[in-house]
Amino acid sequence: MTTTQTSPNQRWARAHGLFDTGEFDAAAALLAELVATTESATDTLAVRLLLARAYYHSAQLHHAEAETRAVLAADPANAYAWLLLGRTLERQSRHAEAGGPLRMAAAMGLDR
């Protein structure tokens, strides 16, 4: 069953699975690898957003912030990414900075 060479789709599914079972460190490592190797820009956004969430849940908050900002740079209307950015900043006690992103998320219909 196991092969060392797996397709990006398989690795993406596996990363999802690791994320679903709470293995955020392992998910983040796999997703970071995927982000570095995936070509299609659309796919990269989804991978980056899950990577940001995996970083967030494994308390790698600087990485989470960087990934979330990268997603927002390409997709400024992504309400979830604004929410995630706000929460990431809050967890770093950067409450003043968190206000803006959280208001953006709320304005797009995502409140806490």
């Binding site: 069953m1 599914a13 596996r14 699975g17 679903d20 079972t21």
Partner: protein, 340 residues
């Protein structure tokens, strides 16, 4: 490495309970004839499970099997009387002519406490004291013993004595470090339940057990380690994964709802049966390979028991899986068969 099966007899809504009990007995008989080393019945005191009286099920199984060792998996000792537990399993040992084993633990559910009038606040004290009495009974037919949670014993004698010179008693643990230390101090064999997450994560706890046992002066061969893992064997990896998923997802989603765990997803399931994961699900080669890897990840185990409980699986499919486990996986692991 010994290979076993654990079954919690999850109720299948489509099957009459009496029918299901016949099916479970047939599964134990098949495990026996296929060469599986040991079969364990769980203990739950809640709707959805038919295993509240495991010694009764095991006794019925003892009468229709010849070689397989019969175990609890696990006996919720905190909620039982050690004298009764010892009597039941000593009797099982006589019926089975020396094939009974006890795996005792604190259990991962709490409903047995109110059911038997016990205070959950005594969780640790109850277990500690009852284990002490159980081990005393194993060594001495006429013990003098007293504790806080039970009437004292004044040498009146507890019978029958088992067929085996010493009834094997394993200690079942989850992820609590102090439990590993306790088992090591006592020098009892350790059965670690790995329900989710990478088994490698348990290595430091297993090492803690071995080191504690060594310092307590127990010989290394006495400090046996077993692991209990979710698994299922199929003719192919895909068939195994497909057949096991529905009942597994139903049970863990239902239990997860009570405990605040997220629902089971197919992607999560696939990850758990993937590289480094805890599930032994696949064809015999895959299961044998992963079993060897997990043993290495834990620093060497002498027994793996496969938790195959599934309340949504046709009886024939389960029998086939048991057959494959005994006739294919066991020979791959004991060196009688060579991997492809």
């Amino acid at each position: 490495m010994e290979i076993g099966i654990d079954n919690f007899v999850a109720a299948d809504p489509a099957v009459e309970p009496a029918r299901q009990m016949q099916d479970v007995l047939a599964q134990i008989a098949r495990a026996d004839s296929a060469g599986v080393h040991t079969f364990g019945i769980g203990e739950h005191h809640r709707e959805g499970f038919l295993d509240s009286a495991p010694a009764t099920i095991l006794s019925a199984a003892a009468a229709i099997t010849e070689r397989i060792r019969l175990r609890s998996a696990v006996t919720v000792l905190s909620a039982d009387d050690p004298v009764r537990v010892f009597e039941s399993y000593a009797t099982l040992d006589l019926i089975s002519q020396g094939r009974a084993e006890l795996v005792v633990g604190r259990g991962s559910f709490t409903e047995a406490f109110p059911l038997f009038g016990l205070d959950l606040a005594d969780y640790d004290a109850l277990f500690e004291e009852k284990l002490d009495l159980l081990l005393t009974l194993r060594d001495d037919a006429h013990p003098h013993w007293s504790g806080r949670h039970r009437a004292p014993l004044t040498g009146q004698g507890v019978f029958p004595r088992p067929h085996q010179a010493q009834l094997p008693i394993w200690l079942g643990v989850g992820g609590t470090p102090s439990s590993f230390v306790r088992v090591g101090v006592l020098g009892l064999p350790l059965m670690v339940a790995i329900i989710g997450g990478p088994p490698a994560r348990f290595r430091s706890l297993v090492d803690l057990y071995r080191e504690t046992g060594r310092r307590a002066g127990h010989p290394a061969e006495q400090l046996k380690v077993g692991a209990h893992l979710i698994g299922f064997v199929g003719d192919t990896d895909e068939q195994a994964a497909e057949a096991f998923y529905p009942g597994h997802a139903e049970m863990f989603t239902r239990i997860g709802r009570e405990r605040g765990f997220p629902p089971v997803t197919r992607a999560g399931y696939e990850a758990q049966r993937g590289p480094g994961g805890p599930y032994l699900i696949g064809d015999p080669e895959t299961v044998a390979r992963r079993a060897r890897e997990i043993s290495a990840e834990l620093g060497g185990v002498s027994r793996l028991t496969v938790q195959m409980t599934n309340g949504r699986m046709p009886h024939e499919t389960m029998l086939r899986s048991i057959e494959l486990l005994g006739s294919k996986v066991v020979p791959l692991l004991d060196g009688r068969a060579q991997p492809r």
